[in-house]
Structures are given as structure tokens and as C-alpha cells.
């Protein structure tokens, strides 16, 4: 007797891995995987870039602090400033001498032509307040230098030092195309050239004036819109300022190209002379 066995075979459901839709799904999953990896790498890169930028910036800002600029001056050391003439000066006399007039005279010899009181003060402020100490220590170490003219490097003041480190406004030197004729050598000087040497400066001035006028204009609109009676005098001042700026901007662009005027005062004459020489 055979038992009739009915077996039901379990058919495993077939996964669809060959149709186009399935292949597209697989490709989409791999793309998602690649995107995820990319996010990881990008975040690591951003962090590294930030650390790098931070370190470079801090070092760049800090490195100029390790450098100092000196001005090499010919300092005339007259013996009568260090005690009665004829005798060699004592150490106490060297230490106690007043070095300010010595340095001032040395600066005036190096940069001639400074007359006005205010400009003389600016000139003496070129040197650091420690410049006198530098000179004093040099003389104390070598008293035989009294009476000679010493070529000594002296520490520049903060503002002058920062200027040389690039933290001030620079001086542009450009080769001129015409001949410059200054109207004098002191006081307010007008420099006339026979070619358009100053067109770029005029463009810069005009652009700056119009920008400033636009800024003030925005302020003016805001003040007008506030309708506050306390702002009325400010509004009138602003309107006058804007009108003046616009007039100056128009005037600076309107000169003829053959003779261009540029007003320069003494402190800028060095720039003018470098323009003349280059």
C-alpha cells in the first residue's frame, strides 16, 4: 500500500533584477551612495580649508610684528650740547643731554624746507620716542663719537612703521607723458603738464565723489521718509553737501585734455618730483 503524498514545492519568489526598471533603481542607489561619500569628503575638505585659512590669516597678520623699520640719518653731534667745550664729555653729561634738538636738526637737514610749526611737529613725529634712547646708548658706549657726524639707524614711529608695512595709503609712481611745470617750490603748488597725465586720478576722484553723493543721497531719502522735525536741519545740510559733491564731480571731468591742473601741496611734491623724474 503506497500512501499518496501530495507535496507542494515552495517556489521562491523571483526578484526582478534584470528589467530596465530594476537596473535604473540599482543605478539610482549607487548614485545615492556616491553622493553620500561626496558629502563626507566635502565636509572634511571644508573643515581642513577653514583650519588652513585661519592659520594662514593669523600668521600673515602676526608676522609684520617681528620686523621694524629704521631711518638712517646723518646726526651731527655738536660737542657743545654735551658739556663745556674743550673737555671730553663725562658719562653723566652724555646721559643727561637733550637729544630732541639734535634729532630735529638732523631731520631738518635730511628733509629741507619745513617752515611751519605744525609741519615741523609732523616731521619730528617720524621718529619713535625711543630714537633718543638709541642715540644715547650709542654715545654712552662710545663717547669718542661726540663731535662727529654719525650715520645711525633710528627707529621709526608707529604710524611711519605701519605705513612701510603696507597699512597706509600708497604712493603711485607712473611714467608721465608730458613735461610738468610746477608753479613754485613751497606752499601750495600747482603742477601743469602738457599731456593727459592726471586723467586716471581725475577718474578716481570723480568716481569717489559720485559714490559719496549716492551714499549721502540714500541717507537723505531715509531722513526725509522719517518725517521727524528734528531731522530738518540735517536734511538741508545733506542736500547742500550732495549738490556740492555733484558739482565738484562734474567740474573734475570737464577740464580740457591739453592743460590739466592738479593742486598739490608740499607733502605731495615728492610724488610729483618722482613723476617728473621717472
Amino acid at each position: 500500500m503506497t500512501a499518496a503524498t501530495t507535496t507542494t514545492t515552495f517556489v521562491r519568489p523571483r526578484l526582478d533584477v534584470t528589467s530596465d526598471a530594476a537596473k535604473a533603481r540599482i543605478r539610482a542607489r549607487y548614485r545615492a551612495e556616491a553622493r553620500f561619500r561626496a558629502y563626507g569628503i566635502i565636509s572634511l575638505l571644508l573643515t581642513t580649508v577653514f583650519v588652513g585659512v585661519l592659520l594662514v590669516d593669523i600668521v600673515r597678520r602676526g608676522v609684520p610684528a617681528f620686523f621694524q623699520h629704521n631711518l638712517v640719518l646723518d646726526v651731527k653731534l655738536a660737542p657743545d650740547a654735551f658739556g663745556p667745550a674743550g673737555q671730553p664729555p663725562t658719562t653723566a653729561a652724555i646721559r643727561g643731554a637733550d637729544y630732541f634738538p639734535i634729532l630735529r636738526d638732523a631731520l631738518k637737514t635730511a628733509i629741507p624746507g619745513i617752515e611751519a610749526r605744525g609741519q615741523e611737529r609732523t616731521l619730528t613725529r617720524l621718529l619713535s620716542s625711543g630714537a633718543q634712547d638709541i642715540l644715547r646708548e650709542k654715545l654712552v658706549a662710545n663717547p669718542g663719537l661726540v663731535g662727529s657726524t654719525l650715520k645711525v639707524p633710528l627707529l621709526l614711529s608707529d604710524d611711519a612703521d605701519l605705513y612701510f608695512k603696507g597699512f597706509g595709503t600708497g604712493i603711485l609712481s607712473r611714467a608721465p607723458r608730458g613735461i610738468a611745470t610746477p608753479s613754485g617750490t613751497s606752499g601750495e603748488i600747482t603742477i601743469l603738464t602738457s599731456a593727459n597725465d592726471f586723467t586716471e586720478e581725475l577718474q578716481t576722484i570723480k568716481r569717489a565723489l559720485t559714490e559719496r553723493a549716492t551714499q549721502l543721497d540714500a541717507n537723505l531719502v531715509r531722513l526725509r521718509r522719517s518725517r521727524d522735525p528734528a531731522n530738518v536741519p540735517r536734511v538741508t545740510t545733506l542736500e547742500a553737501e550732495i549738490a556740492d559733491l555733484k558739482r565738484r564731480a562734474a567740474a573734475s571731468a570737464g577740464k580740457s585734455s591739453s592743460t590739466v591742473c592738479c593742486r598739490a601741496c608740499w607733502s605731495r611734491s615728492t610724488a610729483a618730483s618722482s613723476r617728473r623724474r621717472s
Partner: protein, 345 residues
């Protein structure tokens, strides 16, 4: 000999005497029946217990001193110009300056805490928006995908970032990042303050990236390999495994990492002192200057006000609120970790 020198010699003699007594005692105790290891064990136990007690007592001391001054600030009747608790917690104007002289009628003293809270939360939110994705993705990449060579230079970079003093970061934020953001904003036409919350938030975000990254790295590595193997065996790609298996398993640790980073960001002082503003400003605009609780605490306490004025005691009230907020965040982190921690073995 002067009294000072006599005192010095006395102390020296007493110290030497005590040392000699101790040596004699221990040498006398060295007998075969003396159980030295047990005694030493007890001694080490007492010493470690004392260290833990010192830490706990210090915390209690800090909280108690701040709480005492805070209670004085709110409830001392002899203090002029103090606010009530609701005025402090829900006021919208922060102006502690005029509390010194009551005859300045046009300047109103106000101790409203809300602008400080919104400023702190704004900067913290920006910081987490920066640090969260960057830190988490760095951690995932370093834990799952990176080769040992890549890990060898990426980990030190993150550690350098963690070791940068916050003063230097604040310096960088104030001198470089803030003018840069201002320049970009103004070239687009937006009105950006020179001490925007965005600058402070960005740099603070970069500061807390190592926190999130290293803590998340640890929890992701702690997920057992068997879970990963099971997912790979089912045909999942690596990113699908991470997203659907590993991150949910590591979620409590990642959430607690975020909570710790948030409480660090809320309590951070130096970056915001240098890069964020001083005037309280109730706003949600990240391009404006806001001030935070820590900046105000520093501003009030760095100065020579006497400790009796309401203005100085306001700093203690701010400190207490700050402590309370970070305490709540840490407790939430602890609860989440404890409740959702998986036991794999």
C-alpha cells in the same frame, strides 16, 4: 631673630617632626600579622572618595554662591532698581546701564532678559547649522569610508581645530570673517552690520565641529559589526546601511553629542565678546548685531561697579539662568542616552 624667621623655622621643625613620626609609625606597624594590602586598599578608597567629594562640593559651592546673589538681586528690599522675576524673564528691553543714577530720568533701566536669550539662541542656531552637518558627515566618513592614510591626517586636523584658543578664533571672526561677510552682503545690496550674528555663529560653528565629530565617531564605531554585516548581506549599499541601520543605532550618542555641543556654544564667551555686538537686539535676522548672555555678564563684571548695585547683581542672575539652561540640556542628554541606549551583548 624676627618673628617671621622664628615662625619659618617652627614650621620646618614641625613638618620634619611629623614626617619622622609617620616613618616610625609605619616601621613599627610592619609585623607579619599586619594586613598591609587591605589597609592600603582602604586608604586608596578613601582618597578617591575624597576627590569625588571635592568635585561635588565645588559644584554645590558655585551654584550656592550664584544662587545667593541671584536671590539678593530679586528679593533684597534695599536694592534700588531691581526687577521682579517676571520682568526679568519676560521683559524685552535690556538696559542695565542707568541703574547707577536714578536721577537720569530719560534713560529707563530695564532688566528684560529676552533679547539676550534670543541673541544667544540665534548664534547657537547658526553654529549648529554649520557644525551639525559638517561634524556628523566628517565623523561618518572617517568611521566608515576613510582609508587609514586619510584618517592619519584628517584626525590631527580636527584635533588642531579643537586646540585653537577661542581668543584666536574670536580675533579671526572679528578681523577677517565679519568684514568679509559685510563686503559680500553689501555687494549684493543687503545691509549687514559690522558685528553680525552670522560671523560669530559661523566661527563658533567651526569651533564646535570637533566636539560633534569625535563623539559621533566613538558611538558609530561602537555599533557592533554584526549589524553592518547583516545589512550588507541583504544587499544594502554602504550609505543605506549607515542611514537605516547604523545611525538609528547610534542615535542616542549622536543626540547627546549635539546636546553637549549646544551647551558649549551657549556658554561660549570669547568668540562672541570679540565678534558680536554689545547692544541688546530682539531680532531673528542673522545679519544684525545681537548680544548674548555671556557678553553681558562679561561687560557688567569687567569694570569697577560696587557689588551693591542692581547692575552688578544682574550679572549673577544672568549667570544663574545660563547655568540652569545648560543643566537642563545636560539632563536631557543624559535621559535620552539612558533611555534609548541599546544593549547589544
Amino acid at each position: 631673630m624676627t618673628t617671621h624667621r622664628v615662625g619659618g623655622w617652627t614650621i620646618l621643625a614641625a613638618g620634619v617632626g611629623l614626617a619622622v613620626l609617620g616613618v616610625l609609625f609605619s616601621l613599627g606597624s610592619a609585623r607579619p600579622a599586619f594586613r598591609a594590602r587591605n589597609t592600603f586598599e582602604r586608604f586608596v578608597l578613601i582618597f578617591l572618595g575624597a576627590c569625588a567629594v571635592v568635585a561635588v562640593l565645588t559644584t554645590i559651592g558655585i551654584v550656592a554662591s550664584v544662587l545667593y546673589e541671584t536671590l539678593r538681586f530679586f528679593f533684597d528690599p534695599s536694592l534700588k532698581g531691581r526687577p521682579t522675576v517676571t520682568e526679568f524673564l519676560f521683559g524685552t528691553e535690556w538696559n542695565p546701564q542707568a541703574a547707577m543714577r536714578a536721577d537720569q530720568g530719560d534713560i529707563k533701566t530695564a532688566f528684560g532678559f529676552l533679547p539676550l536669550l534670543t541673541g544667544t539662541l540665534l548664534i547657537t542656531f547658526i553654529a549648529i547649522c554649520v557644525a551639525g552637518p559638517l561634524g556628523l558627515m566628517s565623523a561618518i566618513y572617517l568611521a566608515e569610508y576613510a582609508s587609514p592614510r586619510l584618517r592619519a591626517w584628517a584626525k590631527p586636523v580636527l584635533e588642531i581645530l579643537a586646540g585653537i584658543p577661542t581668543v584666536v578664533l574670536g580675533f579671526f571672526a572679528a578681523l577677517t570673517v565679519a568684514p568679509l561677510i559685510r563686503g559680500w552682503g553689501e555687494s549684493i545690496g543687503l545691509d549687514v552690520a559690522s558685528e553680525s550674528a552670522l560671523a560669530a555663529g559661523l566661527v563658533m560653528g567651526m569651533m564646535i565641529i570637533p566636539f560633534i565629530s569625535s563623539l559621533s565617531d566613538d558611538v558609530i564605531n561602537a555599533v557592533p559589526q554584526s549589524m553592518r554585516d547583516g545589512a550588507y548581506a541583504l544587499g544594502a549599499t554602504k550609505s543605506e546601511t549607515i542611514r537605516q541601520v547604523i545611525l538609528p543605532a547610534a542615535l542616542p550618542g549622536i543626540v547627546s553629542a549635539f546636546m553637549l555641543a549646544i551647551s558649549r556654544a551657549i556658554g561660549e564667551t570669547m568668540i562672541v565678546v570679540m565678534a558680536a555686538g554689545l547692544a541688546a537686539n530682539l531680532t531673528a535676522n542673522p545679519l544684525e548685531a545681537v548680544t548674548t548672555i555671556t557678553v553681558q555678564i562679561k561687560t557688567i563684571l569687567v569694570g569697577d561697579q560696587e557689588f551693591d548695585s542692581a547692575k552688578t547683581l544682574a550679572a549673577f542672575a544672568l549667570g544663574f539662568v545660563l547655568f540652569f539652561v545648560t543643566l537642563v540640556l545636560n539632563i536631557i542628554a543624559l535621559i535620552i542616552v539612558r533611555r534609548y541606549k541599546e544593549q547589544y551583548d
